[in-house]
Symmetry: C2
């Protein structure tokens, strides 16, 4: 039985040079005469030779691969983010290993370890669920541990630590501003709805509360609803609560759609009697009727920037790049609000 794949020795032999020379040609070293380079290249191309990545990895301890962790790739926001990340990474010559961890802490850790085992060059966590609630440092300990081995990047969440780079949206500000506008236009019974206790959800909540208080209103527990991330769950929760509400600020678009469904079920006109603001400005905003006003958190930009930073960190490792980057959001008004 013959070898199945051609290797550097074969090429060396055909070209009548040593493997060292072939390696130099492959890696674009200067120290090869133009003549030999051409000769070797010709054979490499003719034979369609590509170096064995395992052997390369063994020596260099890298396979130009990055691990992407995501709680749920079927989620609109996450899949959009992964799409941008993959594109950017691919442009830069990196492959990505996708790992869907779910939301459970043990699983997040397990998937992280799995990826480290594969010797990826960096880790990118997508979604603020990985940043925990901020209540305890322990929640994010596994991230710092990973960061001891390779640089770690977080999309939309802040985790403190050496070698961990965060990219966060100015969610507090965005929610503050939009809530304030709603109140200024006369809304009196706003509710904040979230499905999560993550870093970013907390930022948003803070923005909401700040706006409410700044208008001299009492912020009450009743103004804040925690619910599963499902259209029907939101609709039914609101119906069951039976409260008077005239504005909804949701921490994602799915929840906001649930609010629209609630309005329909309860016979409330949107936006006249109930204004609704979503978050993420995902593709679903167009599907709903009326079309959803939403806060755009600039996924594309954040993802591109993150990959850019990753490359920088990887190339001049030791770079003291700014470890936390903020990007502002943009309110996109459609037909579920009327504040501009």
């Amino acid at each position: 039985m013959k070898k199945d794949t051609i290797n550097i020795y074969d090429i060396a032999e055909m070209a009548g040079v040593s493997i060292a020379t072939v390696s130099r040609v492959m890696n674009g070293s200067e120290k090869v005469s133009e003549k030999t380079r051409r000769k070797v290249m010709e054979i490499i191309e003719r034979e369609g030779f590509t170096p064995n990545v395992f052997a390369q990895g063994l020596g260099l301890n890298t396979m130009h691969t990055v691990g992407i962790l995501v709680p749920d790739i079927a989620d609109l926001y996450m899949s959009a983010a992964v799409a941008w990340l993959e594109e950017s990474l691919s442009e830069k010559g990196y492959e990505c290993i996708l790992s869907c961890s779910g939301f459970a802490p043990e699983e997040k850790q397990k998937h992280t370890e799995m990826l480290l085992t594969k010797h990826v060059d960096a880790l990118i966590y997508v979604g603020s669920t990985y940043a925990g609630s901020g209540r305890s440092e322990d929640e994010t300990e596994y991230i710092r541990k990973a960061a001891k081995q390779i640089p770690v990047f977080i999309i939309n969440g802040y985790v403190k630590g050496d070698n961990v780079y965060s990219s966060v949206n100015e969610d507090e500000e965005a929610v503050y501003e939009v809530t304030l506008k709603l109140l200024e236009k006369g809304r009196r019974k706003p509710v904040f709805i979230t499905d999560s206790g993550s870093y970013s959800a907390l930022q948003k909540k803070r923005g909401f509360e700040r706006a409410v208080k700044s208008r001299g209103m009492d912020r009450t527990e009743e103004m804040e609803i925690h619910v599963a991330n499902s259209i029907y769950a939101v609709r039914d929760t609101l119906l069951a609560a039976g409260k008077e509400i005239d504005a909804v600020i949701a921490t994602n678009d799915t929840i906001a759609v649930g609010a629209v469904k609630y309005a329909k079920a309860a016979g409330k006109r949107v936006p006249e009697e109930l204004e609704i603001v979503g978050y993420n400005n995902s593709d679903i905003v167009m599907a709903v009727e009326p079309e959803l006003s939403s806060i755009d958190n600039k996924t594309e930009q954040v993802c591109r920037d993150t990959v850019e930073r990753m490359i920088k960190v990887l190339e001049n490792s030791g770079n003291i790049d700014n470890s936390k980057v903020s990007v502002s959001c943009r309110f996109v008004e459609r037909n579920t609000t009327h504040i501009n």
Copy 2:
């Protein structure tokens, strides 16, 4: 500077055995005495040793990794499929490398080659775009070429070839039946709308045409519309066409939502004046108003089955498993039709 990672030699030394023994313990070989096994295991665990995957790969020529190709991970159907695939693969101890190829033939081929270069154990193509239009064998040649090296699986598309395993939905039948029902209920101006000329789109079209003809109607060019995969594009195309239509069969849910938007813009009541059927039964069906009737192509089942088959093929390689599996679809009626 010290070595950064502990290796099999270190463990062997600590345990006072040879590396061969450590290797045997790691791989669960029978030929190790219970005593040494325990001693070695203890040290392995204490040190948290994990074998270097590159070295393993170099020898065994596998890293327990599969390549997943997808034209667009931000698409609802694709991301749902990838979610199921990743979950199943992960359960079986496989990692997945995600590659978003887009729809261009050269890119599909390039991404395929990239993945082969990484020595993945198998390739999974998600979406019938990879199966081409069926007009020419050339379109899918790159798939057969890949299949010479590793088994190839296709989710929702059929490609003929050795070592390529297809999983297809009975799309023709599904569309035939639903179209027939619509016609039987009195619809006279149905249109079929697609964004694609893929294998599965063609199956669907065939089902549509068969139903139309079976009712003694003339199938005309006008009944079939090709359009970009965008809500607004569909809406505007239908508005511009200004045709009388009373039923829409769409090849995906996004297109169907576009039809709903058209109905609203044109002042047609759904489903009374216009019935609309989507495809994929994706999450978006709930967001629209009225909620979308859609054909469920059982993504979860197809993905799980595919991974199951993959494992089988990988384990007893040479297995002559059935290379084409069909799964039937299920029409899910919601509020854009009234045929049941």
